[in-house]
């Protein structure tokens, strides 16, 4: 073995998901994955770099195209087992380059010191045609493990495990389309079992990746916070003569405001995509509606699961807390009237507000003319809508693997469930922060909001 950092050649039959596995494990969106068999024609190394450190390298290779002919060539060269590795070396040097181009491409990295990751499709039954290529890989004497990729299901996994364990020291099931961070770490641990000199660097890689994923989530949450503050404080204004027909401009202003909020949200999504290394991903998400009956009526609140009762309860708690501060300032002489009054007033105000949620705040200016302004929308339900959309996007993208090239469908989830991850006190604090977020938040509040978003993911 000549490589110092862990390096694996991903080999196998064409169209069994080798490129998908490379894309997922090296976080590369640009690895070509196609339904066409034999897409990869050249071996190519992809390194996983974290914080300017190469943790390991995977080499995407073409599939075996003529394994039986290769095995026949090798068997003619090697009289006994001791000559097998040399026979493989001779094959690279002497065999017909055009005819055996793909096999030479996949075997060369192995002879250069790469370990072997042999990939099979666990949704089709095992059959003897695979044994020629497994035998060839045995002849290389390289450390090797098998990954069963359940492309179309897991019907035949047990069959494969039984067969593969006779050729490979480690066999694991690995679906590059749906694997989570934990399972990726488990596969890396399995890699570490293959070859003693790689154990320490791969264990180090697992630790580094966990830390890296934590950093990513923090940065993603901070992007959501920044976009939320920006959208909360955003407004659009127009100066018009006093006699100007307001109604015509109102609709235009609302449309412009809505579009600008959507632009901010799109920018957030692009940044999160770039952060999680999914630059080519296509997104299908429900458009942000700032002022439609559907958004502000009770039905639409349920879209994010933040029901009316929850909103009223939270507003009541905030009012009581403010009133309690007044009680404290008079040394309790008010006999908690402040807290009671604060709670009642906030409760009534939130009930009234939730009766007519569809109104957008439009201001006029007297005397020489009017200044029409759309936004900022300070209504609490809207803040939760923005927060929920950001968390939905972040939550889904962090689970997406780099082998998944489908259009990214962002399905809204229940904010009530998400908010339930916080304690009651934290929920009240969250409400307070959201209520003042249109004015901007200090760094401590920004970090607190970030941490809550991480808990709600």
């Amino acid at each position: 073995m000549t490589n110092t950092s862990p390096c694996f050649a991903v080999v196998g039959h064409p169209n069994k998901g080798k490129s998908s596995i490379v894309a997922t494990l090296t976080r590369q969106d640009a690895v070509k994955i196609s339904e066409l068999s034999g897409t990869t024609t050249q071996a190519q190394a992809f390194a996983l770099q974290v914080n300017n450190q190469t943790l390991y390298t995977l080499i995407d290779t073409p599939g075996f195209q003529r394994p039986r002919q290769v095995l026949h060539w090798l068997e003619a060269k090697a009289v006994n087992a001791a000559q097998r590795q040399q026979a493989v070396i001779d094959f690279i040097e002497q065999a017909d380059a055009q005819k055996f181009h793909d096999e030479k491409e996949l075997l060369q990295p192995i002879l250069n010191g790469a370990g072997i990751l042999y990939v099979v499709d666990g949704s089709i039954p095992y059959s003897g045609e695979f044994e020629a290529e497994m035998s060839i890989l045995q002849w290389t004497s390289a450390p090797r493990m098998a990954l069963i990729n359940p492309i179309g299901g897991e019907q035949y996994i047990d069959q494969w495990q039984q067969a593969l364990s006779q050729f490979f020291s480690v066999v694991r099931v690995f679906n590059p389309m749906s694997v989570d961070q934990q399972k990726q770490a488990a596969v890396l641990s399995a890699f570490a079992e293959l070859y003693e000199p790689w154990r320490a660097p791969l264990n180090h890689a697992i630790t580094q990746l966990a830390e890296f994923n934590r950093q990513l989530d923090e940065q993603g949450a901070e992007l959501v916070v920044a976009a939320l503050i920006q959208m909360q404080g955003h407004k659009v204004s127009r100066n018009v003569p006093a006699s100007f027909a307001q109604s015509a401009l109102s609709a235009q202003l609302k449309t412009q405001y809505q579009q600008e909020l959507r632009d901010i949200e799109s920018a957030l999504q692009r940044k999160i995509q770039a952060l999680y290394a999914h630059p080519s991903m296509l997104v299908n998400a429900q458009r942000l509606e700032v002022e439609t009956p559907d958004l502000f009526d009770t039905d639409q609140w349920y879209l994010y699961g933040l029901d009316r009762n929850k909103l009223v309860a939270l507003a009541t708690s905030v009012g009581m807390a403010a009133g309690a501060a007044v009680d404290a300032s008079v040394g309790g002489a008010s006999l908690m009237a402040g807290a009671i009054a604060g709670g009642v007033v906030s409760s009534i105000a939130s009930v009234v507000a939730t009766l007519k949620p569809e109104k957008l705040n439009i201001k006029g200016m007297p005397l020489a003319g009017k200044k029409l302004t759309a936004g900022p929308v300070k209504a609490l339900p809207f803040s939760y809508v923005l927060l929920g959309r950001g968390i939905d996007f972040l939550g889904l993208i962090r689970q997406r693997t780099h082998a998944d090239r489908r259009t990214f469908d962002v399905a809204p989830s229940s904010m009530t469930e998400r908010v339930a991850a916080l304690s009651k006190t934290e929920q009240i604090k969250l409400t307070r922060i959201l209520l003042k977020s249109h004015k901007g938040l200090n760094n401590k509040e920004l970090l607190q909001l970030r941490d809550w978003i991480l808990r709600m993911l």
């Binding site: 039959h13 064409p14 169209n15 069994k16 590369q28 640009a30 690895v31 070509k32 196609s34 339904e35 066409l36 068999s37 034999g38 897409t39 990869t40 024609t41 050249q42 190519q44 390194a47 770099q49 914080n51 300017n52 995407d60 599939g63 075996f64 195209q65 003529r66 039986r68 002919q69 095995l71 026949h72 793909d102 499709d121 949704s123 089709i124 059959s127 045609e129 492309i151 179309g152 950093q215 923090e218 940065q219 901070e222 992007l223 920044a226 920006q230 404080g233 955003h234 940044k271 770039a274 952060l275 999680y276 290394a277 630059p279 003042k436 004015k439 901007g440 938040l441 200090n442 760094n443």
Partner: protein, 428 residues
């Protein structure tokens, strides 16, 4: 947060510059990282996708940034105002007595109140993060950043508040320097008068309170001195009146300049903190690095045009011999199953095979992978004048379309005819 090492590189780089310059350099760098064509501009190898080479390349690519002169100009203007204000106070009373209230108010007490208000608005007010509430401050920003101001409000507001205090300090320093300059060439007398303070003793007590901060090294004005410098009184002593200036200067320094300077120092510290926070928590560089690290696959196969759809074949009407590939075919009798034993055995059989027809069908299932070995088998027969075609059989699955595309491409690549069994076609 980024890795500590990456944070350290960025903070060392941007905080090494003068603070006033660093904020704009940092924001320009962020804009650079966000631009779509930055990877092409940088043209860095994968090995160089980290902070130092990127910063170095950015430096080379960035046009020399003009210094942000608007803040400097305003400091200059502020200095001129300060000097002019002091000159105005002194020159107006060229041959007369300057009422001490005037310079005290203009350069000590009002600045002190303004400093307190500035401290509140820059440190405690809820509007301190909102540029919207301080629109007049936008004019201090370079044009290129004015459009991005909404994105970077906390950082820009911290910088703006600091710059305002620097201007205020400039105002007072210039005023003191103007006082010193005029004092070299002219003699000024100061006195006091008041409608409401009738007794010198009251004014003396007031001055004792005002001068308390510096009374250890400069005595407070005595009662006798106060009595001698009351304007409009017969016992006014012009000579004594020239000795007001030390206490006047101390009042300007202690109530005007020092609080303002202290506030400026605090705001500078907070701005530096905010800049460090912004650098540590910005992910623009990480997003750029991810874009730089994307490695497109080399020389990958793509279908140049859609392959022809397979022809439907009813097996019951089939007259051609069927050779199965790697597995038996249900519902059809095959003359041979190839691909299961060693290659030499298959090769020998193919060389010996002599059908009665001019063609044969190679039966495969959708879930099998087309390989060159299958193509080689078909080519062996073709060399003998026997035309081999592909026949797709078996059961349909969820991946029917995906798998069919592979077989269509394979058939078109090698020039084979492609058939699909009628039953399978009907299932799909």
């Amino acid at each position: 947060m980024k890795s500590p090492k990456q944070n350290a590189v960025l903070i060392d780089y941007f905080l090494a510059m003068p603070l006033s310059t660093s904020v704009f350099q940092w924001l320009n760098f962020r804009i650079f990282c966000q631009q779509a064509n930055t990877p092409e501009k940088l043209n860095l190898s994968i090995a160089n996708t980290h902070a130092e080479p990127i910063l170095h390349k950015w430096q080379l690519l960035s046009a020399a940034q003009p210094a942000n002169i608007s803040a400097l100009l305003l400091m200059l203007v502020s200095s001129l105002f300060g000097a002019s204000a002091m000159a105005g106070v002194l020159i107006v009373a060229a041959q007369q007595v300057v009422n001490i209230w005037l310079p005290l108010a203009l350069f000590a007490f009002i600045p002190f109140v303004l400093t307190v208000l500035a401290a509140y608005s820059s440190l405690f007010s809820s509007a301190r993060f909102s540029l919207e509430r301080h629109l007049s401050l936008r004019m201090l920003l370079p044009k290129a950043l004015a459009n991005q101001a909404e994105l970077h409000q906390p950082l820009l507001m911290a910088w703006l508040f600091w710059q305002l205090q620097r201007m205020a300090v400039s105002f007072l320093v210039a005023a003191l320097m103007a006082f010193a300059l005029f004092g070299i060439f002219q003699s000024f007398s100061f006195g006091w008068s008041s409608t409401f303070i009738k007794h010198s003793e009251t004014f003396a007590e007031l001055m004792q309170v005002i001068s308390w901060p510096w009374h250890y090294w400069l005595p407070s004005p005595s009662l006798e001195f106060i009595q001698q410098t009351e304007i409009g009184q017969a016992h006014f002593n012009a000579q004594a009146a020239q000795n007001w200036w030390p206490n006047l200067v101390m009042a300007i320094v202690v109530y005007g300049l020092m609080p303002r300077w202290l506030l400026s120092a605090v705001l500078r510290y907070k701005f530096k903190q905010q800049l460090s926070y912004d650098i540590e928590h910005s992910s623009d560089l990480d997003q750029l690095i991810n874009r730089l690290k994307q490695q497109p696959s080399l020389n990958t196969v793509t279908a140049e045009k859609p392959a022809a759809s397979p022809l439907v074949l009813d097996l019951t009407a089939n007259q051609l011999p069927i050779i199965a590939w790697q597995k038996e075919i249900e519902g059809a009798s095959c003359v041979r199953v190839l691909g299961k034993s060693d290659w030499q055995t298959d090769e020998h059989w193919l060389n010996d095979f002599q059908p009665n027809t001019a063609g044969v069908l190679f039966a495969v299932t959708l879930d099998q992978t087309p390989t060159f070995e299958l193509a080689d088998s078909i080519e062996l027969l073709k060399n003998k004048g026997i035309e081999g075609s592909l026949l797709i059989t078996g059961q349909a699955s969820d991946r029917f379309t995906t798998q069919l595309v592979s077989w269509q491409y394979f058939a078109s690549q090698h020039g084979f005819s492609l058939f699909i069994e009628a039953q399978l076609y009907d299932q799909h």
